[in-house]
Amino acid sequence: MSLPGFGTSISPEESAVTSSIDIPAFSEWRIEVPFRTYFKFKVIKGVAEIFGTELPLNVEIQFCGVKYAIYAPLSEGCTIEYATTPNKENMTNEVDDVVEYLSEETVMKKYINLHLGLEGLRQQISDHNIINSQKAKNGPRVLILGGKCTGKTALAKILSSYALKMDSTPILVNLNPRDGVFALPGSITATPVSDSFDLECAGGWGFSTTSGTLYHNPKQPIVKNVGFVNFDDNLDLYKYQISKLGLTVMSRVEEDPKIKSSGIIIDTPPLAIKDISLIENIISDFEVNVIVVIGNERLSIDLKKKFKHKLSSAQLDIVKVPRSEGAVEVDESFVRRVQEETIKEYFHGNYKTRLSPFKTELEVRDYSIYKGILSLDLASTLAFLPAGDSYTADGEGDNDKQEENSLDKYYSLLSEPSPSNLDNSILAVTQLAQKNMLTKDLLNTSVLGYVHISKYDDTKGKLRVLLPFPGAFPRNVLISTHIGFSD
């Protein structure tokens, strides 16, 4: 098992030459650090921030496998001292050079304006709520839309970090199952941003709660399972989970006065006008009233046409902001690596905070394991059915099947566990106790946590698993995800 950071701590003879760079006012220093290299730096003068999160002075920060922009938001600029060391744990043959360049062409001023506008709305709402506590209103619900690699997540980070800096606590909703935001990939989550992000964590997010003490305050997300990294692998399941997440988030908004006036910021996978039904769903599920379109004139015009009625009745604002030149194309392997880091961090922690997972064995027959259905598979199964014939799976236990049918589009019971479909995969543990489970509940439940299956021994019927912590494992329904991972 290889862990980032362990055993590779800086021994003096290894520490490379330290360079320094001045970032002029309102400029960005863009860095792309591969996974083969550790990039250590500290801000020695001025104010520097990464996606809205301010960096401390003279405190060393270590990155590995990131594409970030360090921005100097104030007129005095800032100075950064940095050094790189190789990551010996990583034996791949990818490049190990750090790409770095300064850019004056930032869109940060527009993003800051966008934030100020939203904060203005929050201020009005919170004042209104103080005076009319009976008829309290909700803060802005912001939906960020844009194409692939346009910096949607960066903007979501910026907006929520700035909101936090001005004493608001918005809920950050991540609808892109590719990323695990305070959870693992294959999920969609909602997390109140009550403290800054921990940039050194995988994906630059931070820890969810642990049993002990952390250097950085953790966050408390609500996690819904999608089970795929691409949202359109099962669009029905994805939409269903979004509506469930929306319901929970809106309840929290109603209950939590601080969050109520701070509103919601929604990050999305790359969506285009062809996904309009999905966009409409999101808008109604989260009562979106501000849409921010990044760098896509066409999309914003199409949306304006589509939502003419809402725009004219002032229920909705659509604004567009330019795409940052710093938003780089990421290749599949990079995305995959970040996902792996996220999974590793979930179980083992990172170089600063080590977590202790627990290896054990589970009897496979004690658990019912479901698996998300790939829409493609379902379509191909149905394609072979004669027209007019309804789909009923054969097998014993017809009563059971009757019930199963409502799950058809979403999940199927993994009736034959095998090494091929379980080895090296991630299981989502649901909140749902196994006994007396109703089909509907499986769709409505959220994620309790994750376990990793390293091996399925089909002769003994035992799963070799990694649990996040030692102790009794609940007899809850499990969902096998399409997220693979090997230690």
Partner: protein, 535 residues
């Protein structure tokens, strides 16, 4: 005739300055002069009122006694002249009086007003609505037994109006000294609020909201700068009006902090009232009003706005919400932003005026944590938060330096219901949540945590001779000290590890215990099973 009365008034005002102690001869003398010169009544009343408002707090009461005496014995025209102002005068004196004077003298003074008739007639001494106001005021301050059966914390519109009435003279006073626009705005907002209260039926919740706002305005206006919010005591002390004669000094009573006293203390702290006390134990402090040399400006950071009246109307009393320095600055800047975005959000994005508001993200919160770059404002809230924040860093570092407590694992996520009811404050360093999980099934008394704020301690087991001990969490050495009340040696600020017997030496700092038990995960049966003991 006019000359004569003006010279009388002059003499009268001169003699008033001698009223620096509770002297019956002076009061009698001045009352007689007043009775014999009814033509100078207006001037005399003016002189007395002026004296009440202007003299130092300790002398106010005597001037009020004189006023009382004049109204009672000189009778008509005096009591009518003073009539409409009596509430202001009374509440003014009340606010500046010591607790003892209030309970013994001012209350009984008021009681006499309720029964006294104007000399030679059957009319009440003062207008009944003024007396009602005083009564509401006293009720509000908790000095009178309430006659109604409603619980004392129930608010009535009347009380709130009384509250506002109490604030208005303060504003008027301030406006007389300063031409600050904001003061006028706030004054207006208050009058509007008063009208609103008078005309519209409001629910209890609304009233409470209004009340809390009023309270903060009061604090702000009187404190000039940031002041710790004064929580209204759940049970306000109430004194039975005592039958002590007004002009004899009352017996010392146990001082209970009242609102008015706190307000006075605030004045003292803010430097508006100067205290001189001889460095001799038991000497009486002498209070002097200090007229500030600089004009009162609520916040140095405020930008003047031309359309403030409109703002008040538009923002529906937003201005009356109390804010600290940072909150005010944010409000002012964002009001400008809000106006622009209400015209066109998109156009606002393309403007270049954000540099002005950048301050809100950085310089306005100039106090930056050197460890994690978190920023804090320089106002009271900011500095309190920073202190808690640094304490937290300290605790965390200490705890993490101890390898034993480093072992930790990821928690389960919450389910929908728990998440909806979860509050992120429990995750933060500012958490005041002492009733942490794990504590739920253990009674607090068992742990020796006293809710009443008494110090927590663990008695050294009688069989034990070793007085030195260690906190199980932070490993700090703890020495026992002698508890005089119990006559036992105790380890202070500690609790015994839950579940340990009375002879156990396993102790933990209360602070460490609470930190370790902060709510970090879901409750419930499931959690009880999977949660590891953290200490």
């Amino acid at each position: 005739m006019d000359d004569q009365s003006s010279s009388i008034v002059e003499d009268y005002a001169q003699s008033l300055t001698e009223l620096t102690f509770n002297s019956r001869p002076i009061i009698d003398n001045l009352t007689t002069i007043a009775r014999e010169n009814p033509l100078a009544a207006e001037g005399i009343i003016d002189a007395i009122t002026k004296r009440i408002y202007k003299c130092i707090p300790d002398h106010k009461l005597f001037a009020l006694f004189l006023l009382d005496s004049v109204c009672k014995y000189a009778g008509n025209s005096y009591n009518i002249l003073v009539g409409e102002d009596i509430f202001h005068l009374y509440s003014h004196v009340f606010q500046y009086s010591s607790e003892q004077n209030r309970k013994t003298k001012l209350i009984s003074l008021f009681e006499t007003w309720k029964v006294t008739k104007t000399k030679g007639t059957n009319f009440p001494l003062f207008p009944s609505e003024q007396l009602e106001k005083i009564e509401t005021f006293l009720n509000k301050a908790g000095y009178l037994r309430q006659k109604s059966n409603s619980p004392s914390n129930d608010l009535s519109v009347k009380q709130l109006i009384g509250d506002i009435d109490r604030l208005l003279p303060i504003f008027q006073n301030k406006m007389a000294h300063s031409s600050n626009q904001k003061l006028h705005d706030r004054f207006k907002a208050l009058t509007q609020l008063k009208a609103l209260l008078g005309t519209q039926a409001m629910t209890q919740k609304d009233l409470q909201a209004v009340q809390s706002q009023l309270k903060t305005i009061k604090e702000q206006e009187l404190g000039n700068s940031a002041i710790t919010p004064v929580p209204t005591p759940a049970v306000t002390p109430r004194a039975t009006p005592r039958a002590t004669p007004i002009s004899t000094p009352g017996k010392p009573q146990q001082a209970t902090t009242s609102k008015a006293e706190e307000l006075f203390q605030i004045l003292v702290n803010s430097g508006l009232v100067n205290v001189e006390q001889a460095p001799v134990p038991g000497s009486r402090p002498v209070y002097n009003l200090v007229q500030p040399k600089a004009k009162f400006v609520p916040s140095t950071n405020q930008i003047p706005s031309n359309s403030t009246l409109q703002e008040i109307l538009n923002s529906n009393l937003s201005n009356s919400i109390s804010r600290l320095v940072y909150g005010k600055l944010k409000f002012d800047k964002l009001m400008v932003v809000s106006k622009q975005i209400s015209v066109n959000f998109q156009d606002f994005l393309n403007t270049n005026n954000s540099s002005d508001s950048l301050e809100l993200l950085y310089d306005a919160k100039s106090s930056k944590c050197s460890i994690c770059a978190k920023r804090f404002a320089n106002d009271l809230e900011g500095s309190t938060k920073k202190r808690l924040h640094l304490d937290w860093h300290f605790r965390i570092n200490k705890k993490l330096a101890n390898s034993a407590s480093k072992v930790q694992s990821r928690n389960w996520y919450l389910d929908d219901f728990d998440w909806v009811n979860f509050r992120d404050d429990d995750l933060l360093e500012f958490s005041t949540n002492t009733g942490a999980i794990g504590l739920d099934n253990i009674k607090k008394e068992d742990l020796g945590i006293n809710g009443s704020g008494k110090p927590s301690f663990v008695q050294v087991p009688p069989s034990d001779t070793n007085m030195n001990n260690k906190c199980l969490v932070c490993q700090e050495n703890i020495k026992a000290s002698y508890n005089d009340e119990l006559g036992e040696w105790c380890w202070f600020d500690c609790i015994r590890l839950p579940g340990e017997g009375p002879d156990s030496r396993k102790i933990i700092h209360v602070a460490c215990f609470n930190e370790a038990n902060k709510k970090r995960g879901p409750d419930g049966d499931l959690n009880a099973k999977v949660k590891r003991e953290k200490i």
